[in-house]
Amino acid sequence: MDQHILLFGATKDIIGSSIYSINDSFKTVGELREHLYKQFPSLEKLNSLMIAVNMNYAEDLLELKAGDEIALIPPVSGG
């Protein structure tokens, strides 16, 4: 199953694209996070990295389902 992850701000610069596609499936947000940290160690150097699932901030324990909209949320700086 192809999973597309939306990237913004610093994560877009680190991964080098505005969408990251993985041909793999992860059971939880935490597993996806582990994978990303392994592939892109610079992500761990961010002040924080939240993962949004269906436009809500998600805990690492949240289980992923097919069709979820997933986005990486580096430290926000609006306002």
């Binding site: 913004f8 961010l46 949004a52 430290p75 926000v76 609006g78 306002g79």
Partner: protein, 135 residues
């Protein structure tokens, strides 16, 4: 009214909370600063995860109305390129009692800066940086 747009018209944001007459309106206007930590800012670029940003801004409005005795709240934020002095965010709150209007307005801008997925890149003469991304 919750909105993400290129340019904010302050008068319009104030109007949007003043349809009925409540006595007190508070407004916060955030603008691009000329200097950050001693460095001259040439321009800013705002990027936004728009559908989620709108949801988070609506959540701020909803929670502010639960927490404080206010009647109306509008939050407008810009996207795209901005120069020093240009408006970034405008929040307006209408209430019968001004204390609640002040508290709700401050709550809204404080929370927006923590939760709304919008990112600001600062451009200096010698480079650019995503604000707050790294230690």
């Amino acid at each position: 009214m919750i909105k993400i747009e290129e340019n904010i018209n302050v008068e319009q944001v104030i109007q949007s909370v003043s349809k009925s007459q409540y006595g007190g309106t508070t407004v916060f206007i955030g603008t691009v600063r000329v200097h950050t930590k001693g460095q001259r800012v040439l321009k800013l670029h705002f990027e936004c995860y728009e559908p989620m940003a709108l949801r988070e801004m609506e959540k701020i409005e909803r929670q502010a109305k639960e927490k404080f005795d206010i009647q109306e709240m509008s939050i407008h934020h810009v996207v795209g390129e901005k120069l020093p002095g240009e408006k970034v965010v405008v929040i307006a709150v209408a209430a019968f009692h001004r204390k609640a209007a002040f508290e709700a307005c401050e709550y809204a801008i404080d929370t927006l800066k923590e939760t709304v997925p919008i990112w600001k890149k600062e451009f200096f003469e010698n480079g650019s940086v995503w604000v707050a991304a790294h230690p």
